[in-house]
């Protein structure tokens, strides 16, 4: 069987018929070609697949595409506006907040959600807010710096 879904992805309407079991992350990556959301685990812990669902950071590997029916989804591909990098994207670039880059889209979207909730977090709040995203390269030191950079730019 398939389920018909309608949603908005990065501001554009999308309609599709999906198998019920299709995970949102596979729908985004394979059906829509939005490969920015990555898959790093299968236990909902690494956060590489993080997207914004109606503004809230969620793990797209732990959602059926069918559950996203009617929702508005933002992926990393939709974060830059009018060709201008988002301050978080700038921060990660400026502060060397990434190495291999695989965790980065999820990390940036989680940080985006964090800053929406708390526009000027301290170090501890940043570390607590991003605990759902694993990075194996950076030791997180510069990720904290990148988020602080963005918070300053956005204030």
């Amino acid at each position: 069987m398939t389920v018909s879904i309608q949603l908005e992805v990065n501001g554009k309407p999308v309609q599709a018929a999906v198998e019920p079991r299709r995970l949102l992350v596979h729908f985004l990556r394979e059906d829509l070609g939005l490969t920015g959301a990555n898959i790093g685990c299968e236990t909902s812990l690494c956060g590489a697949c993080t997207v914004l669902l109606d503004g809230n950071a969620v793990k797209s590997c732990t959602m059926l595409a069918a559950q996203a029916d009617g929702a508005s989804v933002t992926t990393i591909e939709g974060l830059a506006q009018n060709g201008e990098l988002h301050p978080l994207q700038e921060g990660f670039w400026e502060k060397h907040g990434l190495q291999c880059g695989y965790c980065t889209p999820g990390m940036i979207l989680s940080a985006n959600y964090l800053l929406a909730q708390n526009p000027s977090p301290n170090d501890e709040e940043i570390r607590e807010g991003l605990k759902g995203n694993i990075c194996r390269c950076t030791g997180y030191h510069n990720i904290v710096e990148a988020v602080k950079y963005a918070a300053e730019r956005m204030s």
Binding site: R29, G40, V144
Partner: protein, 781 residues
Amino acid sequence: MARVLGTSIKRREDPALITGRGKYTDDLKAEGMAHAAIVRSPYAHARIRGIDTSAAEALPGVLAVLTARDVAAAGIPGVVPVGWLLPDLVTPAHPMIAADTVRHVGDAVAVVVAEDRYLARDAADRVAVDYEPLDAVADVVAALEDGAPAVHEEAPGNVAFDWEIGERESVDAAFASAAHTVELDLRNNRLIPHAIEPRAVLASYDSSTGEMTIHMTSQNPHVHRLLMTLASLGMPEHKVRIVAPEVGGGFGSKIHHYADEAIVGLCSMKLDRPVKWTATRTETNLTDAHGRDHSTHCAMALDADGRITGLRVDTAAAMGAYLSTFAPAVPTYLYGTLLSGQYDIPAIHCHVTGVFTHTAPVDAYRGAGRPEATYVVERLMHLAGDATGLGPVEVRRRNFVSPDAFPYQTQVALAYDSGNYGPAMDRALEMIGYDDLKSEQASRRDNGGKQIGIGFSSYIEACGLAPSAVVGSLGAQAGQWESADVRVHPTASVTVYTGSSSHGQGHETTFSQIVADKLGIAPEAVEVIHGDTDLVQFGMGTYGSRSAAVGGSAIVKSVEKIIEKGKKIAAHLLEASAEDLEYEDGNFRVAGSPDRSLGLGDVALQAYLAHNYPDDLEPGLSATSFYDPANFTYPFGTHVCVVEVDTETGSIELLRYAAVDDVGNVINPMIVDGQLHGGLAQGIGQALWENAVYDESGQLVSGSLMDYAVPKIHNLIPFELDRTTTPCPHNPLGVKGVGEAGAIASPAAVVNAVVDALAPFGISHIDMPLTPEKVWRAVNS
């Protein structure tokens, strides 16, 4: 012209990666692409009585189900080879697909190819394998016991090799006359690399040309192509192209050649269409080569002045079920040779037994042998500080190789080219505020409650495995040089083709800085190409902290050749003698006549037009070089960790971590710091959290992120870094390597800190990872 070397230029790799445009292997699609799912053994050891694939084949959308029988029918070599041979190494065959016996949980027994990845998994579940479970042994010590289940008939007692270095007799003599001796039984815990991108491959075979393109998660595409074609698929090497697109971390795990990638290649050949396989985290954890897994007895002898007189090390090192690509080298040439540390030790002996176990293979993982060696030496130094009463700082200082003793020949083969160990220790003490911490510690000891500890690790590293003739004599089936092809275009922009293969290290940025500096042009005018066997000629790849020292030096060599040739062209155009020309800031100038000069662009254009050109020169302005280093490079440093231990629960909190590293000259400080941060996280992870645990039946019980604790952001702290600079004397950049330093130094620093905190409880050692329960039990025993 602004300085380029030594500058924190932002990474050119990043714009694609921060916008989601970077393409990793699983992001790629090919026309007609099918998906593979691999059927794996649920048993650590079992005989395969039979495999029934009919139910899987009957599922609509399933294209093929292959087993060992199909590998045999294909008439291909069908094995996964080991690439480093030791004397008397036992080398049992490692079939791509297990034929009659499985030897670890995750061993491949069949592969299913289907139109869709969900469907492939459905079909894999329907492959019925009839197993006869056999006794298994997963523990490295248990595997050596009499009567332990045999992993391979060819390896009696499960011994893969027996290796030693140094002089046993002189060590025995040192112990016989020692004023102090310290000894330790320790485990170096088994680790799962956890590159955040699981391994993946997209193989596209085209029968009309007989060519196959393989996109895969690789740290060294040429090495993968060589092993894949020669030992596994039996294809002509020139008909196979391997491309490493964006690679999401490796840490060693993507150096090795695995069965899975070869299996997918075979599927594509059989079906004559592209086939993709992406490991799930569970699969990648079951099959990626793991790291470490040593059981060691070690002892140190010291004289009455606290000078080390002897070091004795006996290690059982797990190899896992099969010998992985570089596995035999890791606990031998990358371990035993590092045991002199930063110290002048007159007698060292190290004996290593390589042991087969019914587990995933063990191979190079960040640091590869050197973290294990550093851990042994630096744990013993901590104990020696106590035993001699000198304390951790003075006992190290007293034994440092003196700065005027370089080059320094150790008793374990390596000759340190350079070093100056005292200043790094001085700086680390200053950064951490050692005296204040000692008073704070004393007052906590008086008052009870949470205790603090300060741990040191003064490490030595050997990077850029070299030279080729030496590694060849030691059993490597590969050279350890690197290639670089540098091409200056007619408009004076440059493309570099390097055999190094970046997977997060920022080679494109760093290498462009090298070329920009040497040619006096803007880094933006330099393109760096890597990771594609069709574009780049044979190279060795990225591992062992070798890229800057070896790959970077190859680039310098090519640039020097280009400048020499450019001088000849410029001399012709300027009607001067080439010997009189000098090259500076992008211009060829006649010495002493500043008006007579030509820009690189003028010369490059003429090199390609070749209208007005020296008779004895070939057109073009490019150069290829193979740089074979004269020696390893020897980074070093001192790290200090401060922890707080909750003795009531055994919980450990990191309070401070200061690291002073000497990695030689630095090309991009931002990238160098980032490499250190990442290495520190992995080393601290090993010390406190990470542990690959197999139960007695050989099941991996920490196979997912639910049980295997990769460091998370809220469990780590900011790192305090500084550097001293002792340039490498034998490569043109004076660089040494930095990728592994953090992982090498930090486990000992953390454990020494915890043991220091618990000194009042009479605790001298706890095995990693220092879980709260272990600490609590130690405190209460």
